[in-house]
Symmetry: C2
Subunit: 516 residues, 2 copies
């Protein structure tokens, strides 16, 4: 439990709350993987009960009293006693506990109840509206959710934009002021890069990847790659679910899922690698910090950097496939036996504007995110009305990707996030991509012959580097501090843009001159 | 939630507690089926947290106040208001809630904590001692557990034997005074019946059942039988675990498990049928009573009657195999293609004294239970010392089954029950057998052509009869009342003994004259 024994009573209290939350996570995992359909309604009640008890225990006077011996509750300033007697890591711990406490305490219980009920309702209506391709069905619920989220920003408080209050929940310290120039840099260069790709005479043979691939063989191949990445199966599992995800109940009990489409070589495999990146982060948190913020991932953006790094920088790289393509050929001899390496490598890196984010390639993916970020920012800052969303969405898709959705199901209704009020979530996907490139560049500098090792199937040095540099620290440093500690740099889009321009310039045979 | 709206606040309180307990049950199920080994220690803490919270919420002043508006808390007598305004079923509900509350409240929290910790410890030592065949290792822990259970009987109170206080937890209303004459009748007739079987010149060809049976085919066959029994897979699952069990998180989310040994045709199949019997009970409880005693099984003995009825009265019967043997032959043509029906039927009903209870046949099984019942009764009533258990055990095995364990691992150390303090549990297995025979006799009288239907694979009339007669009532009637309602008779060993004497007389070609 760390070195400061005087913190034990606070940690014990948190541990109980953490056990409740992790129990709830087990119930959610079961719901997505094995639960028979009849179990749904009772399961929702069971999860709600655990979440409510955890919330109530966390914002209880007892927690406040224990925390108040170390920190000034109204301001979050450490007390003299904390500054003089606690180790640095324990001081960070107290600050992070306060951060969570302060956030949870600002929201009145009645408001949390209303928000959770309305979001749960909106999510059900969204499912229906998406199925029926009927935005008008979803409109009243979405309006309610947006109104409630605006109310939430008032409770939480902010200096510049109300959007900051929402963003902060997913990416501590991130602001509109920080994101806007990033997007301003990324968007034109991604749009231009996409034009270069589309103008290229090189056309990948994507039909290679849509042959028939046996279900069991796909799963086995995915599991083989996961093991090579260092994902440990005595502390983790791989299961199947409708939407791939990662969850953790303890660093020694982490679960990732994938899904299998027999006509698609990529979906199962890249879900395994992507979720495996998340899973390695969770397995890499230190068990002695379990139940405290130091035993938790620092932000969604940093989490996503781990999945993106493995999925794209590694899993779609030439060195990776130097090792794994021969294996893929032996597992799928009929499909790949006569395929040349370069042909395969080009196919799994093909770029094609498409309507659906989760199926997007590495390059266009961030344009999908920008569409969402700009729309939700306008919504929360009051420049766009909810009823105008379909039109706004379609226009931005045309502007950035050059295609217009045929129907709202493939447009504004495609993502679940807004229905459960997760405004401020989407930018973390792009932040993850930017962090991933910065981390990977640094790893290449620090790990001798990294890519030569990867080409020999040796992925463990990278996993161990990530363990040491990122995973083990939990929330001891803010995302901003962590990135600076690991790379010596502040967050920048340049490594990511350079990586894309270089990679796709090579693949599609063009070159982009460095901007002056 | 039933008809008495005035009970709603009490029911709502219970529902929260029930959600916690069911969440804990999900965590236990996961632990036995899918949890990676590393998850063990954290899981124990998570489960302990949920159980403690549920216990504290249940014995809280709030529960007492809500319950106290209907019942006199010290005595359990219904108040005037309850007797005049509540429906009969709601009155039964209040009585059962009081029963649980009274039981839980009598045990001081500190005692519960000590007991749980010592039992958890003893169980770990038992695992080790069993592996090492070393009773002396387990002796100090078992002594502690016995001492604690004696202390528990003082808290709980009893009129005649302290054993009654323990028994009552598993089989409400059951007493030593009731069990002793049952055992007195059963033991000599079972011992005599066993002698007849052993003296018979008929020798079943059991090697039929120890050929090699493919893992997947065994599971599929088990699942087929479960479906035929009416176990619903949109409200249930079948998984694998080291020790088969049934658990439920709601009548619409019931889980059974089995285990597969490739060299054993019986283990997987009869575990499926046995657990399926338990599972049908859980699926047959009424969802509208979820969270209250009316939505819970009434006792372990009645629960076991359901599994035993399906496993033995049905699953080892001639009509059952009239339908399923041809199917078994088609699934396992190499193993059974040339086997005659009678040869197979005799083999799955072979009787052979053996050392290990869980592998015992239908006839000798109850002799195993008697060994345990008599020993634990002597322990709790102070006539036997813990250190003498191995010797006492071996002597009783010799007396009743004619064999002496070669080692304590196959003797006194074989069962987990005593290590976690479950004294008073074993008799419910035998009660289950007696109830099962009574119920099945009644079913044959009430369901037209029951066995002819079974021989055609039609098991649903029996399932529906059990739903109506037993499952749907939950804890509305005591086990004693329930048996009388269903059969018109009081608990008796005669139907069971008659069934065994008739069945094995036929199979082994002897006849036992009715006693005068």
């Amino acid at each position: 439990m760390g070195s400061d024994a005087s913190l034990d009573s606070l940690k014990t209290k948190l541990l109980t709350i953490h056990h409740l939350k992790n129990a709830s996570a087990v119930l959610s995992w079961d719901q997505e993987t094995y639960m028979p359909s009849g179990g749904g309604p009772a399961r929702a009640e069971q999860i709600a009960t655990l979440q409510t008890l955890a919330h109530e225990a966390f914002i209880s006077p007892e927690t406040e009293k224990l925390l108040g011996t170390w920190v000034d509750i109204p301001t979050g300033q450490l007390l003299e006693k904390a500054r003089t007697t606690l180790a640095k890591s324990s001081q960070a711990l107290i600050k992070e506990i306060w951060r969570d406490f302060n956030h949870a305490s600002k929201l009145p219980s009645a408001f949390v109840n209303t928000l959770e009920r309305e979001c749960s309702l909106a999510q059900q209506v969204w499912t229906e509206a998406r199925k029926k391709n009927d935005f008008s069905l979803f409109l009243p619920n979405l309006r309610t959710v947006v109104t409630l989220k605006l109310e939430e920003t008032q409770y939480l408080g902010y200096s510049d934009s109300p959007y900051d209050a929402l963003l902060d929940e997913f990416e501590p310290g991130s602001t509109v002021e920080q994101l806007k120039p990033l997007v301003g840099t990324l968007r034109p260069r991604l749009v231009s890069l996409l034009q270069h790709v589309l103008n290229s005479s090189i056309k990948p043979k994507t039909s290679l990847l849509t042959q028939s691939f046996a279900h069991a063989a796909q799963l086995e191949f995915g599991e083989t790659v996961l093991r090579k990445m260092g994902y440990e199966f005595d502390r983790g599992r791989l299961d199947q679910s409708a939407h791939p995800f990662t969850t953790s109940f303890h660093p020694n009990d982490v679960r990732v899922t994938t899904r299998v489409f027999e006509q698609d070589f990529q979906s199962c495999l890249f879900s395994c690698i992507h979720e495996g990146g998340h899973g390695l982060y969770e397995q890499g948190l230190l068990p002695e910090h379990y139940g405290t913020p130091l035993g938790e991932a620092v932000s969604l953006g940093i989490h996503e950097s781990q999945s993106r790094l493995w999925e794209n920088a590694v899993g779609r790289s030439r060195p990776f496939w130097k090792h794994f393509f021969p294996l893929a050929q032996s597992v799928f001899p009929e499909q790949f036996g006569n395929t040349a390496f370069d042909e395969f490598y080009l196919a799994i890196n093909h770029v094609q504007p498409s309507l659906v984010r989760v199926e997007a390639d590495e390059l266009t993916y961030n344009l999908h995110i920008m569409v969402r970020f700009e729309i939700e920012l306008d919504l929360i800052e009051g420049r766009t009305r909810v009823e105008d969303l379909p039109e706004v969405w379609n226009q931005k898709m045309q502007d950035y990707l050059g295609i217009t959705p045929d129907r709202n199901t493939n447009g504004v209704l495609q993502d679940v996030h807004w229905s459960f009020g997760a405004f401020g979530y989407f930018p973390t996907y792009t932040l993850g991509n930017l962090y991933a490139s910065m981390f990977y560049e640094q790893a290449k500098q620090e790990i001798p012959n990294l890519e030569r090792g990867i080409a020999e199937g040796n992925l463990l040095p990278l996993k161990e580097w990530l363990n040491q540099k990122i995973h083990r620290w939990g929330r001891q440093y803010s995302p901003e501090e962590l990135v600076r500690r690991v790379t010596g740099q502040d967050l920048s889009p340049e490594p990511f843009l350079n990586y894309l321009e270089h990679k796709f310039g090579d693949l599609y045979d063009f070159s982009i001159k460095p901007e002056t």
